[in-house]
Symmetry: C2
Subunit: 244 residues, 2 copies
Amino acid sequence: MTYCVGILLRDGLVLAADTRTNAGVDYVSTFRKLTIFELPGDRFITLMGAGNLATTQSVVSLVSERLEQGTEENSLYRAPTMFNAARIVGNALREVLAFDGPHVRETKADPSASFIVGGQIAGRPVRLFQVYPAGNFIEATPDTPFVQIGETKYGKPILDRVVDYAMPLDRAAKAALVSFDSTMRSNLSVAPPLDLVIYRRDSFRAHKHMEIAGDDEYFSALRKRYGEGLARVFDRLPNPEIDL
Amino acid sequence: MTYCVGILLRDGLVLAADTRTNAGVDYVSTFRKLTIFELPGDRFITLMGAGNLATTQSVVSLVSERLEQGTEENSLYRAPTMFNAARIVGNALREVLAFDGPHVRETKADPSASFIVGGQIAGRPVRLFQVYPAGNFIEATPDTPFVQIGETKYGKPILDRVVDYAMPLDRAAKAALVSFDSTMRSNLSVAPPLDLVIYRRDSFRAHKHMEIAGDDEYFSALRKRYGEGLARVFDRLPNPEIDL
C-alpha cells in the first residue's frame, strides 16, 4: 500500500511518500514512489504515484524518456506552465492505461493509478495537482492546501486540523510526518523508509531531500511524543456522565 | 454517509451511529441506523447498518417481523447464541440482496450493506460481530475490541490508540465520541444527531440510550477541548531541523 501527501505553502512545497510496495502476500519490496525533475534555475517538478506499480513506473518511464527530445506537449522540461506539466502526466497515464489496461483487467487486477504533481517553473507560481485515474486533475489552493493519494484517510484528520497555507516549511514537514504516523499505525502496509522533500519557493531545486528510516531518531521521537501527548489529551477530557 | 462503531468491553458494550442519510445531492435526511431488540432478563441485541438504505431498512424489517413467530434460525428472540443472532442478520441480508440486488445493480446503484451486531443472551458472554456485505461475519475479541462500518477510516486512528477491552464504559463512550469528531471533521456527510448506547454486562437492557445533538453541551465541549489539546501537542513537537 502507498501513502503520498503534498502540501502547498506560501513558502514552497512539502512532499512525502512511503516506499513500501506489496505485490502479493509474501512479496514486499520498497520502491521509490517520488521522482524529482530539476532544471537548475528554470524548474523543479516532483511526481509521486500510487496504485498499480507497473502503471506508475511506466508513467515515470514515459515521462522521463521524453524530457530531452519532447515537445511542450509531452516534456516536463519544456512544459510552459505547471498546468501543462500536470496534463503531461495525465496524458502519459492515459497512454499507459490504453496500452496495458485491458490486459491487466483480464487478470482481474486493477491497472489504475493516481499521481501528485507539484513544482514551479521560473517566473510562475508554485503549484500542486492531484491527477486522478482518469488523467484529469484538481489543484491545491491556499484554502485547500494539501492533496493525498493512496491510503489517504487515516492521515487526513490531523492534516485537516493543523495544515495551513501560511505555516513554515519545517512545521508543514512535521505535519506530514505526523500524518504518516497515524497512517502507519492503522495500516501496517504503509511503512518506512519515507521520502521527504522540502521545496523553497523560487529556488528551483530540492531544498532538502531526506530518506527517513524506521529507526530515524527524530521521527521515532516525534511518533513517541505525539502518541503520549494524544493519550494525555484523551485522558484529561471529561467522560460523559453515565451513572455506572 | 454513515459511520457506526461498536466497542466490546469487559463491562459490556458501547455502540454509536450517526443518523444522517444522503440519497442524492439535495436530499439529506436523518434516519435511525441503530435498532435495539430487548427481552428483559433474557437478551439484549443491537443492530447497526451502513450502506444502501433500502437494503439496511429491509433487513431490519425482515428481522423485526420474525421476532415473535420465527424459529431459532430466523428470530433474534429465539436465537440460542449471539453467533446465531449474527447469522440471522447475515441471512436476512442475503435474502434482501437476492430479492433486490439485481434490480438495484441495473440502475448502476450499489445495493450492498454491512452491519454491526452486538449483545448478550442470558447465561452467555457479551459478543460483538461485524457482518460483511456477503453475509459472513467477524467477531471482536479482547485483543481487537472494536468494529466499524461505513466511513470507518478517519475515526480509526484514535480508536487504535486509546481503546482497550478493560477500559470503563464511560471512557469507551468518550473514545467513540472522539472518533466521531475526527470522522465528522473529515467527512461532512457524517453528522449529528448521534445515537449512543451503553450496555452493561448481564443487565439485558440498554443502560443508557442517548441521542446526541450537534449542539449537545458535553459533545461540543469534548470536540473543542480535544481539538485544542491536539493542536497544543502538535505545537510542542519539535520541527525537523531544516535549515530554512
